[in-house]
């Protein structure tokens, strides 16, 4: 029998489970495997460990800020902590975790047996722990780790009080460069895989939206990351051999670094958030039992965001001596991003609207993430406007905004994804009760933690300070308690994942009755992914429609 009939009204929940995982048991995850599924989980687990490290830094920072005085840790330690918190959360949690998820899912979703370049893929992964070890090692060099914040602005980042060549900032720059090389290798791999390895019949407009999102995000990596690399190389030369690119004492211009930095680092936000949008687009139709509203427009909006992202960077530099006309131009381009983003939000709401909603943990996380994203987006439009930005520049208002994006949306979206695909990845079900406890702790914790930062910023509390005026104390106590709650919310997740992975109920191949090629294979998928490469004959997200998704196997077309 070669037809794989999928009646969309009644999707099969269970097929005989002949999945045998990827073979070698847990030891495989410590080896140089070239299987995209193993690499995906390697990325996910490694980045989660660093997420915990970054979280511990955050707990210390919020512990310091619970009182107005600087009394918990030494100033330089505090500076190192906030620098490392930002660096770890971006370069070792959000980027690699999403790359891990994409690694796991993209080949399955497009009907490929692996990524285009499996060995390159493995090499890119193994650079991540190297970056982590380098950054953590910088705590033990004289002078401690980098203290100039995650954006490493000169001339602050050019200070080297110890006089040693090997100092925290140099290590930081090397780590960022290695992470950049790893990301470029990944981007080349993803773009090639998506363009060249799709199953027959899967045209671009039959690709799942997560694949569209990854594709758009990786294009940003390819064309943005080199600019950061260029800036980092120049800063490293200023720091080590004494060139004068950004060093004012040698004729350099420190603002130039900001251009190099933000030309990549603002689009980098979309590198992170686009896959999360993709996750939302995968999850809402499944748990609302409805086709995704406006599939093509949502797909194209990802590309549009990628394109517009290249012309928004100066909105980080309204107060860096930027001429007025330039501020106006970048205010408008920044606001333009809200158009494709708004299209997506509208499409998700229209998808959920009138649907038969199941509030399983992935859906809860996706809905919570969407609500917090809408809030972050509104605040983002406020920040793009020049007068508001000048007022709240470098205050906690900005910190609150980007944490709503990076925790409220990105991390919540990651949790949604992990719960949703957990049965596929492990062959086991997670515990729904613990999942819901995790969600509510995280949702309440996030809002308690980051909402108070907005009034604090409007009142003028600066970011990155270790001590502050006593009138800011009230909101800071709320924020810190929220942070500790948020930190605690991670515990039920870890418990749930570990216990379920070891002894959870056996998962069927398609527990959510979802459409998508990844749900047609066993849980966990066999090494080769597909016994026969399927031929895709219809568009994705056809919940409630009756055409099949895949036709007879590929070989019989010949």
């Amino acid at each position: 029998m070669t037809n794989i009939p999928i009646d969309r009204l009644d999707l099969p929940v269970e097929k005989p489970n002949h999945g045998h995982g990827s073979g070698g048991g847990w030891k495989e995850y410590f080896s140089f495997s070239t299987d995209h599924k193993v690499i995906g989980i390697q990325y996910l687990v490694t980045s989660f460990i660093f997420f915990l490290v970054g979280g511990i830094f955050a707990m210390i920072l919020r512990g310091e800020l619970i009182t107005p005085e600087s009394d918990l840790v030494d100033r330089t330690v505090y500076n190192g902590m906030f620098t490392m918190h930002g660096t770890v959360m971006l370069f070792l949690w959000t980027f690699p975790s999403l790359v891990g998820l994409a690694n796991y899912l993209v080949p399955l979703m497009i009907g490929a047996r692996d990524m285009a370049f499996p060995r390159l893929n493995a090499a890119a992964f193994w650079m991540v722990p190297v970056v982590g070890i380098l950054l953590m090692a910088s705590f033990f060099v004289p002078g401690g780790p980098a203290q100039a914040g995650w954006w490493a602005y000169p001339p602050v980042s050019l200070q080297n009080p110890t006089g040693h060549l090997i100092n925290g900032q140099v290590i930081w720059l090397l780590a960022v460069a290695i992470s950049g090389v790893s990301s470029i290798m990944g981007a080349v791999n993803f773009v090639t895989t998506i363009v060249k390895m799709r199953a027959p019949g899967m045209g671009f407009f039959r690709m799942p939206l997560f694949v569209w999102a990854v594709f758009s995000a990786q294009i940003i990596q390819l064309f943005g990351l080199p600019a950061l690399t260029a800036g980092a190389v120049m800063l490293l030369l200023d720091l080590t051999v004494g060139t004068g690119f950004f060093n004012p004492t040698n004729g350099g211009n420190p603002v130039m670094f900001q251009h190099y930095f933000w030309f990549y680092s603002h689009p980098a936000v979309y590198v992170i958030i686009l896959p999360i949008f993709g996750i939302f687009s995968e999850i809402f139709p499944v748990y609302a039992r409805k086709p995704l509203f406006g599939y093509k427009v949502v797909a194209l909006s990802s590309i549009l965001i990628a394109v517009v992202s290249a012309i928004v960077w100066v909105h980080h530099m309204y107060v860096s001596g930027t001429p007025a006309w330039m501020r106006m131009v970048f205010m408008l381009t920044t606001m333009l991003v809200s158009v494709p983003t708004g299209i997506k939000v509208f499409a998700w709401v229209a998808t959920i609207w009138g649907g038969k909603i199941r509030l399983n943990t992935p859906m809860l996380f996706a809905l919570g993430g969407l609500i917090m994203f809408v809030f972050a987006g509104i605040v983002g439009i406020m920040l793009s406007s020049v007068p508001v930005d000048i007022h709240v520049n470098n205050t906690y208002f900005v910190v609150g905004h980007f944490h709503y994006v990076l925790y409220g949306t990105v991390t919540m979206g990651m949790y949604a994804a992990i719960y949703h695909w957990f049965p596929k990845m492990t062959g086991r079900m997670y515990n729904e009760g613990w999942g819901k406890v995790h969600f509510w702790l995280a949702f309440i914790g996030t809002n308690l933690n980051f909402l108070p930062m907005h009034p604090l910023g409007l009142q003028g509390m600066l970011r990155r300070v270790a001590s502050y005026a006593p009138e800011y104390e009230g909101w800071n106590i709320v924020a810190s308690l929220g942070a500790f709650l948020l930190g605690m919310s991670t515990l039920p997740f870890i418990f749930n994942i570990l216990v379920s992975w070891m002894q959870g109920e056996k998962a069927p191949d398609n527990p959510w009755r979802a459409i998508g090629l990844e749900w047609l294979v066993a849980s966990p998928p066999p090494v080769e992914n597909f016994e026969e490469i399927p031929v895709v004959i219809s568009e994705p997200y056809g919940y409630g429609k009756s055409e099949p998704l895949v036709a007879e196997a590929h070989s019989h077309q010949h």
């Binding site: 285009a116 773009v191 090639t192 060249k196 260029a230 030309f263 590929h554």
Partner: protein, 204 residues
């Protein structure tokens, strides 16, 4: 027939509407390499953008005592490098005709021309009266020429590998990815140099 797995050779020839199923490894590699080169070119573009902004915004652009750069030797270097792009193209053509002897001759010639360029640049560096730390100009000049020189060196190493591989019988009987990629890389290095030459030496 559930257990029937499509043989790789069948898959290679399949191109269905819209989607391709690829075990066309040579094609994938070349596509990936082009994507990589596009990304690589953005690093150069970033440096170029920096150079232009610095030059336009710095009142005393050249270091004290320097009136300009000598153009003659770099111009000869440029001619040699551009010509070598044609020579490596001839090597590719020779390989397509399965003429390994001419392939090796042309490839070796390309390497010699690339080497000439590098030596020429080293001599120029040793004669210059300013250094890496001579303000923004000095930094930019050595950064740009040094980074490009590193690419020339990489290109020569790739050519050497491709040349040595041609002595293994059967290596280049059908797939030429290594050769094509090396050649494309060399053209890329060449085009970058032309832009650099105009920026550094002509636009003074």
């Amino acid at each position: 027939m559930d257990s029937y797995i499509v043989p790789d050779d069948l898959q290679q020839s399949s191109h269905h509407a819209g989607g391709e199923h690829g075990h066309d490894e040579e094609g994938n590699k070349m596509f990936g390499f082009i994507v990589f080169l596009l990304s690589e070119s953005v690093i150069f573009l970033s440096f170029f953008a920096g150079y232009i902004v610095y030059k336009l915004s710095t009142p005393n652009w050249l270091p004290p005592g320097i009136s300009g750069l000598e153009v003659k030797e770099p111009a000869i270097n440029t001619v040699v490098l551009v010509a070598s792009s044609f020579v490596i193209y001839l090597a590719e053509v020779a390989l397509k005709r399965h003429d390994l002897r001419m392939f090796r001759i042309f490839l070796t010639t390309t390497m010699v021309m690339g080497g000439y360029f590098l030596v020429g640049q080293a001599i120029e560096w040793s004669n210059l009266e300013f250094g890496f730390t001579s303000g923004t100009f000095g930094g930019m000049f050595y950064l740009l020429t040094g980074f490009h020189g590193l690419h020339v060196l990489t290109g020569i190493i790739l050519q050497l590998i491709v040349l040595l591989r041609s002595f293994v019988p059967g290596n280049y009987d059908n797939g030429h990815f290594g050769v094509n990629a090396t050649s494309l890389f060399w053209h890329f290095v060449d085009v970058i140099w032309i832009v650099l030459f105009i920026m550094l030496y002509i636009w003074q």
